[in-house]
């Protein structure tokens, strides 16, 4: 088994991928979603996984998670964060990892409708709870969530890296306060950094989403 999973293996032949009608992103996501991910797991979690068994009374590793309305079986290490599980085991790479320290907000997801930093949440903590990531916001017909539409219309993002987290914080806010003031929105969004400094655009987006929903 290729335990090294060097970047070369993935990225060596962009031209070949293009010929196959595949984007680099599709290819990477495909790898994560299939059995080939086993070698990637070695890379990501290498040296961290202990023996496979757990002590009596400790958590079982094979658990069911409710993510975006689907129940998925997944093998989760005791020390694994939700961000790691979502991105590297479930292929939900919409959730970004910025600082991995609860200091930037890029990894924000909803747990039972409450905004949480998935980098600072143990996956075992969310067993039996409902997790929603940015991938879970669109309607059944693939239509974007009103917050996502407003973000596009107001040109909310600049580079876009912090956007999934910003969207999730906005969704969490509008869930409990459908018509917030601009100041309330500022406070609710204050746990999400944007290095482009597009804060005003994001605020405009959330205010528009609130207005259009009312």
């Amino acid at each position: 088994m290729n335990t090294n999973f060097s970047h070369e293996v993935v990225f060596s032949d962009d031209a070949a991928m293009e010929r196959a009608g595949m984007s680099r992103r599709d290819f990477i996501k495909g790898i994560i979603a299939t059995g080939a991910s086993i070698s990637a797991m070695e890379y990501v979690f290498g040296g961290c996984a202990g023996d496979m068994g757990s002590a009596p009374g400790a958590v079982e590793r094979l658990i069911s998670l409710n993510v975006n309305g689907r129940v998925r079986r997944v093998d989760v290490l005791p020390q694994e964060t939700l961000a790691m599980t979502l991105r590297y085991k479930l292929g939900l790479t919409g959730t970004k990892l910025g600082c991995d320290r609860g200091e930037c907000g890029a990894c924000t997801v909803l747990v039972d409708d409450v905004a949480m930093y998935s980098c600072s949440t143990l996956t075992h903590r969310v067993r039996g709870r409902s997790v929603v990531t940015v991938e879970g916001l669109e309607g059944e017909d693939g239509a974007l969530h009103p917050v996502q539409r407003a973000f596009i219309e107001e040109l909310g993002p600049q580079c876009g890296f912090c956007t999934p987290g910003q969207v999730m914080s906005a969704v969490a806010l509008l869930e409990i306060n459908p018509s917030p003031t601009r100041e309330e929105t500022r406070v609710a969004m204050s746990g999400n950094l944007c290095r482009c400094g597009a804060y005003d655009n994001y605020l405009n987006s959330v205010m528009r989403a609130a207005k259009e929903a009312s």
């Binding site: 961290c48 400790a58 005791p78 020390q79 990892l97 609860g102 907000g105 905004a115 930093y117 980098c119």
Partner: protein, 329 residues
């Protein structure tokens, strides 16, 4: 990024206090009690703490929630800061605590972080956080208190080898409200005044609270002595979000006939403990809460302060906060 993967540990998720206490006793120093996790994960990701077993107590229902009791309220240690910030009962009667909770970190951290975790969190001194073998970590030097050390965030009072400060925003509010901490261990329950719960390096340089291995903070009781009093809370930090206080202040005051009948003040960020300003309390009792009393209070507050190389600014800062607490609450 991948260096931040935590080292492996056994994870336990007990659903009863007894079960948690058994696990804590079984693992002793190798065990780690996990509440909201917002402080713990930093330690684990930095590999500065490597517990063999993590005891996640979040599934213990008895530790959650705010209850009204005959003589006040009882707040379960796992009540989140968001729950405290938005509780109608706390906002109405003990507003200073809701205010303090609202100033902690960021919304997402308040959604996960607990009141118990906020008062039990370790100091933010970065030399210590970096994993250096300082006094607090069991070594025999302080890296902050040297001619080159960056001690801008460190203490004005109570230095004893270690110059770290208490990082909590809710702790000064609890001291001002005369709260009591309920601690359980294998031998049963005990009650400790909030003021005595926090300890400085002169008492034990490796702990910030009286909690010993095997002790669990179960709940916090707030007596109704100060319910509905005049409150003041202010936190000064570099940034409005995430940042820890340079100095913060919490006060509860009762005014009768335009005279301060009774008052409790506590200041964070200036000592290893949330420091109750008893001298200030005595100085202003009986006088009117006006500018003159505020000036008097301010000079009493900073008496005995010993600035370090870079934290002299904390003296006028603390004085200003004390003035405002007297004048504007």
């Amino acid at each position: 990024m991948l260096r931040d993967m935590m080292a492996n540990f056994e994870l336990y998720q007990p659903t009863a206090i007894d079960h948690a206490l058994n696990l804590m006793n079984r693992y002793g120093d190798d065990g780690w009690v996990l509440a909201g996790g917002q402080d713990s994960f930093d330690w684990f990701k930095d590999r500065a703490k490597k517990p063999k077993a993590v005891i996640d107590i979040n599934g213990i229902d008895d530790l959650h929630g705010i209850r009204e009791t005959a003589d006040g309220i009882e707040i379960g240690a796992l009540t989140t800061l968001t729950e405290i910030e938005t509780s109608a009962l706390i906002k109405e009667k003990y507003g200073v605590l809701a205010d303090a909770a609202r100033h902690v970190a960021s919304p997402q951290i308040r959604n996960a972080g607990t009141i118990g975790g906020n008062v039990c969190q370790d100091t933010r001194c970065w030399y210590y956080r970096y994993g250096l073998d300082c006094y607090r970590a069991g070594g025999n030097t302080c890296y902050a208190d040297t001619p080159e050390g960056i001690d801008r965030e460190h203490c004005l009072f109570g230095a004893d080898r270690c110059i770290a400060v208490s990082p909590s925003d809710t702790a000064p509010a609890l001291v001002a409200l005369d709260a009591r901490m309920i601690v359980v261990n294998g031998d049963g329950e005990k009650e400790v005044q909030a003021e005595d719960f926090f300890i400085g390096p002169d008492v034990d340089i490796m702990r910030m609270t009286i909690l010993q291995p095997g002790d669990l903070l179960k709940s916090i009781v707030i007596p109704n002595t100060w319910a509905g009093a005049r409150f003041y809370f202010e936190k000064v930090a570099e940034r409005n979000t995430w940042d820890f206080a340079l100095v913060n202040i919490a006060s509860a005051m009762k005014v009768d006939n335009n005279a301060i009948a009774d008052i409790r003040l506590a200041c964070g960020g200036v000592a290893c403990v949330p420091m109750r300003l008893t001298v200030v309390e005595e100085v202003v009792k009986g006088s009117s809460p006006n500018g003159a009393s505020a000036d008097l209070a301010a000079s009493a507050a900073s008496r005995g302060a010993t600035p370090l190389n870079y934290n002299g600014f904390k003296i006028p800062l603390m004085e200003s906060l004390v003035k405002r607490a007297i004048r504007e609450s």
